[in-house]
Symmetry: C2
Subunit: 334 residues, 2 copies
């Protein structure tokens, strides 16, 4: 059956590094909206690191995906068949519709987008989950004071880039960690971080020390692994760690063993793991501020757009290995 | 020179496991109190795990000890030569006088003991640093609600025993982890924990699971290492970890690599490291409550007393390897 709704399913649980043949494509029938539902034509799909642990046969933030299930994800799309007067055809929405061309949503599951606030795809980045994640983790957990040093890993990514820019707005020193000189240049020259350290450099530890002469007061952790251990070697007394992600482990069969417990203990560090899905009320607090910063040119970002849903698996793998550059999106339809 | 003041010095930084010949004894002259000082004859010395990281040539809570320096530690003693009218001869005090027979103190560095509150040695245990540490870490960081499950490692020790008893007083389920069936029996039968799991048992993980049927809401961590990883395998969403010690690493040349980062992340765990030395004001809050519980028979404890300061190194090593049973003390003088 070759229906019009292209869907990307998880074929099987990945074994270590996720591979293209862990996914399968299907052409399904057009979903039929019921009363109170709307049919959404997806325009852009967001690819995010959290999707990888969802693919493991282990509890993550949510029950594990079962083989044959639709890959989850946030998307921006247009209402094309409405059964809810509050969401007329043509409404632009963000919704967790997953890796597919068309999906069903309701008033409760969509966020109606205001095109005046930014381009639609921004609702999947700086004005969406990644932006709100950055805002919450930095300001509610990291709580940098002016003059303190904030380190953020995956600094050229959708979350990390916003973290450092807010840190600067708050008067802190923003130090990014990213993979490669090109990303590091972008983080400093385009995003305005005070410094960025290439974790692939042979002398990474020395460079990190040079970039954090007064140590590290706040760590916004997206990556984990040996890079996190290196930052713990620079951690200050009473530092705060916002534990947001652990992407370096997501494709390992055996987890990395974090060696920096002594540093956490001796420096009386507070580490708080979080996911923004727990903080529904926070969106209303963060989005106006993020929007105003964006409008004022104080928040910059970069997108990495893969063309066509059929290429989502490759784009996802590129993102997980750091081969992308900027917020990873997939254009589903023009 | 063979003066009357027996002192135990760190001879050299230990290499991995601390050994008796990492210490040296000296017989020094009697200290001479200056104006405002008092000479204290130590009666009992406290041995505590934090002393081990102080011996490494690395920053810990305080600058590292240098070879030849007096081993630090809290003691209870009697003022025998006072140059401060507020501390007359005969006053019983607790003070950080280190591993020696006699020491100098001032009003600012001593805590005057009220013999009505408990035996003097209790000021080094349940009514001292370990007791206040337990109270702070459990009630201010762990914050167990009634019915929640609290797990504490080194449960038969000076801190752990108090943690579980306060957890019970607060209406939580208290599960201890200790080394050996004898300690576990004591933790349950004498201290009143709901359960205690022997980490040396071959089926430790299964026993831990059986003892925590509803998972773990609060972990009071004294030990670290694979035992901590096992507890992280049982951790609940929004659990709190009071990171108090990491004794399993203190004598290792290479730190253990903690594998449970995924659990911390996925369950949105808050982990706060602390030392009670940062919380000077808290003592006045905790001690009356601890004293009243002790008087009411709601707090029990056990002491393991080594006889003679010259045996402090062996007793210290016994404690670090878990061969002691109860709060480790050294009788310095009768």
């Amino acid at each position: 059956m070759a229906g019009p709704n292209l869907r990307v399913l998880m074929k099987r649980h990945p074994d270590g590094m996720v591979r293209v043949d862990d996914f399968t494509l299907e052409h399904a029938a057009m979903p039929e909206p019921g009363a109170g539902q709307v049919l959404v034509r997806n325009l852009v799909l967001s690819l995010d690191p959290y999707m990888r642990p969802r693919m493991d046969p282990l509890p993550s933030y949510a029950p594990p995906l079962a083989p044959g299930e639709l890959m989850p994800g946030g998307a921006v799309g247009e209402v094309i068949d409405s059964r809810d007067d509050a969401l007329p055809n043509g409404t632009l929405v963000a919704a967790p519709l997953g890796w597919q061309s068309f999906g069903l949503a309701t008033k409760a599951t969509v966020r109606v987008l205001d095109p005046a606030l930014g381009p639609p795809s921004a609702a999947l980045g700086v004005l969406g989950m990644p932006g709100v994640t950055a805002h919450y983790g930095l300001t509610q957990i990291g709580r940098p004071r002016a003059g303190e040093t904030v380190v953020v890993s995956a600094a050229s990514g959708a979350v990390g880039g916003v973290v450092g820019q807010i840190a600067r707005i708050r008067g802190a020193r923003a130090v990014g960690i990213a993979g490669g000189e090109r990303k590091c240049r972008y983080v400093v020259e385009e995003l305005g971080f005070d410094a960025c350290v290439d974790y692939r450099a042979a002398d990474f530890a020395e460079r990190l020390a040079a970039a954090t002469p007064a140590g590290v007061d706040v760590l916004f952790e997206n990556v984990g692994g040996p890079v996190m251990d290196a930052v713990l070697g620079r951690i200050n007394d009473f530092a705060r760690i916002a534990l947001c992600g652990n992407i370096s482990d997501y494709n390992r069969s055996e987890p990395y063993g974090l060696k920096g417990m002594r540093a956490l203990l001796m420096h009386r560090v507070a580490m708080q793991a979080f996911i923004i899905a727990d903080q529904r009320a926070y969106w209303a607090e963060a989005l106006p501020e993020l929007s105003s910063w964006l409008a004022a040119g104080r928040l910059r970002y970069r997108e990495d757009v893969a063309e066509g849903l059929e290429h989502a698996p490759e784009a996802f793998i590129r993102m997980l290995t750091g081969a992308n550059f900027g917020k990873q999106l997939v254009r589903v339809a023009a």
